[in-house]
Amino acid sequence: MFYNLVTYIMKETKLGDFEETILLLVGILDKEAYAFKIAEEFEAQTDRAVSIGAVHSTLNRLGDKGFLTSEMGASTAERGGRRKRIYTITASGQRALQESRDFKISLWDQFPSLAGGNLNFNI
């Protein structure tokens, strides 16, 4: 019951900050985009610790929102012969990333101190 409630609320198409990062990492890793690798890459890129579970749950959520698709890939020996789930960005995922980026750029464009050239944050 609560689970349904939660997924219902989550069925929106906004992109959170963490979600955006994960989505980008999926794009960067391309054929190697599965939960463990993404978690590793996240730690390497941001210097922040993250659990595989957290990444997996976010991937799952992004899938629900239609930004990602996934399929089971090849197995390797280092995983005890188990297959991995490889994620790929969908068109709507691409669009969401694009929108997010455009939105931020347009915000930066309006940022007065940058536009005026004198960077002074010690107001």
């Binding site: 939960a35 463990f36 595989i52 957290a54 799952n60």
Partner: protein, 866 residues
Amino acid sequence: MKSELAEEVLGDLDEKFYKVLEEKGHRGARKIYWLQVMKYFRPFAIKKTRLRLPKIATMQRHYLKISWRNLLRDKAFSSIKIGGFAVGIAACILISLYINHELSYDKHYQDQESIYRIANNYQSEEYSEMWTNLEGPFKPVLEGNIPEIDLVARVVLWRWGKVGENHIRPSNTLNNIYEGGFFYSDPELFEILEVPMVYGSQKEALNAPNSIAISKSKADKYFPNENPVGKQLILNDDTERAYTIGGVFEDFVSTSHLQGDFIMTLKDRKSGPGTSGWCCTNYNFYVKLTPNASKTAIEQKLTNVRDTYIMDKYREIGKNGLDDLQKHQSYYLQPVQDIYLNKQNIGDNMTHGSHDLVWIFGGVALTILLLACLNFINLSTAKSIKRAKEVGLRKVVGSQRSGLIVQHLTESSFYSLLSVVLGTLIAWGLMPLFNKISAEALVIPWTSWWFAPTLLSGALLIGFLSGIYPAFYLSKFNPIEVLKGKASSGASTSFFRNSMVVFQFTVTVILIIAAIVTQKQFQHFMNKSLGFEKEQVVNILGLNSLKENEREVFKEELERITAIQSTSLGDYLPVEGGRNTNFGFELVEKKGLEEGFEAARWMVDENYLETMGMELVSGRNFTDQSLDETSIIINESMAHQFGLDDPIDTQVVDMFDGTYRIIGVVKDFYFESLTSTVRPLAMVRGKGRETISIKLNSSNIEQTLAAVNSIWEGFKPNQPIRYSFMNQRFQRMYEDLIKAKTLLIIFSILSVTIACLGLFALSAYSVEQRIKEVSVRKVLGASAQMIFKLLAGDFIKLILISIAVAIPVGWLLMDELLGDMTNRISLSWTVFALASLMALVIAIITVSFESIKAALINPATRLRSE
């Protein structure tokens, strides 16, 4: 874990594991692996489980589903319903466990039916009493004359010799350690009470002279991992009379009336306990009968033995009043399982469970459960209008009345099951608090085989009982009328509901009255002028390990401390833990003509009266000179008993023919419980061996005690000082009352809570029913005050009726409870006024929430919809 995720997740986790393994080694990798696993506990990854109950018929499943939906539909109402019920059940569980514990004492013996304690039973027209103390030589008489008595053991439990508290050490160590739980017994006790032995045998453990048996826990403390039999224990540094350990027994089970850790033998003693003759009744007797022996036949035989044999002994020692004794006295064999609660009120020297408390709390538990059930019924019927359409529709589509009844019974059982689960959890949470208050060590018996079935059947029974009325009531609706919207709660149901509210509040007010009365009674005891000073007096204990002259020197050194006003060396104290001895007394000129009477006989020194702040009414105190060796000071009550107006210089004689001259009369002071009158008391000159009392005249108690301690350490570096404050020991005499008081306060709060929850829901419901009426009235110009009066007035009327019923009932109950106890408070009208006012204010506040909300609404919002 969802099965479709298993493969990828396990793969990821493996990969992580091997990566970390390279970096941090095996332990780190394992730790991180498990951490990662923990972090997978997220909603998306967990398998959805569905409750499947294939065995239950479809309709039943449907009923459960409807119950669940109803519960969710009106969450506030449901939580009041279930919460109130759960609180009542929690209270009931706690009290039931307490009662169960109190009733479980001494039921663990194999020969349960043949273990008894002998009691005297004196019954005459004017006077009746039962008590356990008997003369020591009774033992061989029983053994020699009554073959049905298999074993006889005497025990000494009153403070005689080394009974009670001592400072002990094994003979090969030096430091004295304080221990309680000492008493004397004959060797047969272990066999009679079937005490299992760890070392030594039941027969031999106490058989040698000067032997002592210790409990397993104490053996582990003093002789860890060894067999202590044959080792020596020294009591109070008395190296000349060391005790030899003859056996180690398993600790008495917690449900045994007899408790103790050190049992000293009575066998072959030279003096003191074990040696007193036909003069004095010093012993409790336990007996074990042969199988199939008849209790009544033995009681008769006991009387016969007394008449043929013991009477002569009494005559030899010149005992008076033998004719009366023969006529009125008999013997009673008390079954061992009756000793703890002691409902016959047999006088002994033991602590007992309170028989009254068991009854009172049993009553309170049932009442609270009843309140909770009524609440449940009340709330169920109050909601009936909302359910009326549902019932109507069900009938239209073909539901039988029986089906509807089953539906509502299912629903109430479902609710009650939820409440029982919640209530058990509440009881579990409150257990430590309850144990603290009741001074018990109860646990919830989760694992007992009877616990879960009892709760379950209790839940179903309560669900059934509280569901039966709403079920019949709701299923009665006429579908045509309710579907037309004409359903109204008729006069009969509102009468029913109103009377339930009246009942609930009546009980609540009575409980509040009870709580106030016990509180007042307790205050009355604590503030009662006792005839002695208890606030500034400290007792220093454990002096019996000093030598006699050392005690004198210690006393003198204490007197040099300026903050100490006076000191007195005396073991007889008017508070818990003091010694007490009783002697027969009579006037010299009436000796042999009349039967004397029994009076407490205390040995005190010349500073005693001053230290304790006791007052002389006439005559003088003892002086330090030897001329007072045959002087005696009596209390007013004793002077009265002698029938003397001016007792000074009168000669009295005690049961051992000691003759004394009365030199003073002390004002009556309470030296036993305040619930009885002051008994006669005689004081003779003598010194204590264990206790020195000091009266402080400074408020800086800590500093003074530090000074006392440094003196003590000069005398006894191997034994830490032990002291107690007299006012605390005084309070300890009223522990039962404190318990009763605290629990009554808690339960009256509970009952108020339950009653208010119900009242709140009812008022909310009635406001909801009348909201249109209220709106119309407002439109027509009624003020908020008038609306409030209209809505709250009905309920307040009910509360007033409850108060009118509760006051006389409460008065009668309390009067009965206090009985003709000495020093009881009189029931003044203020108690009842206070209780009524409290109930009324609480009720008004409860009702106000919804009423005021209704009175302040904008009528347009409510009328707009039509």
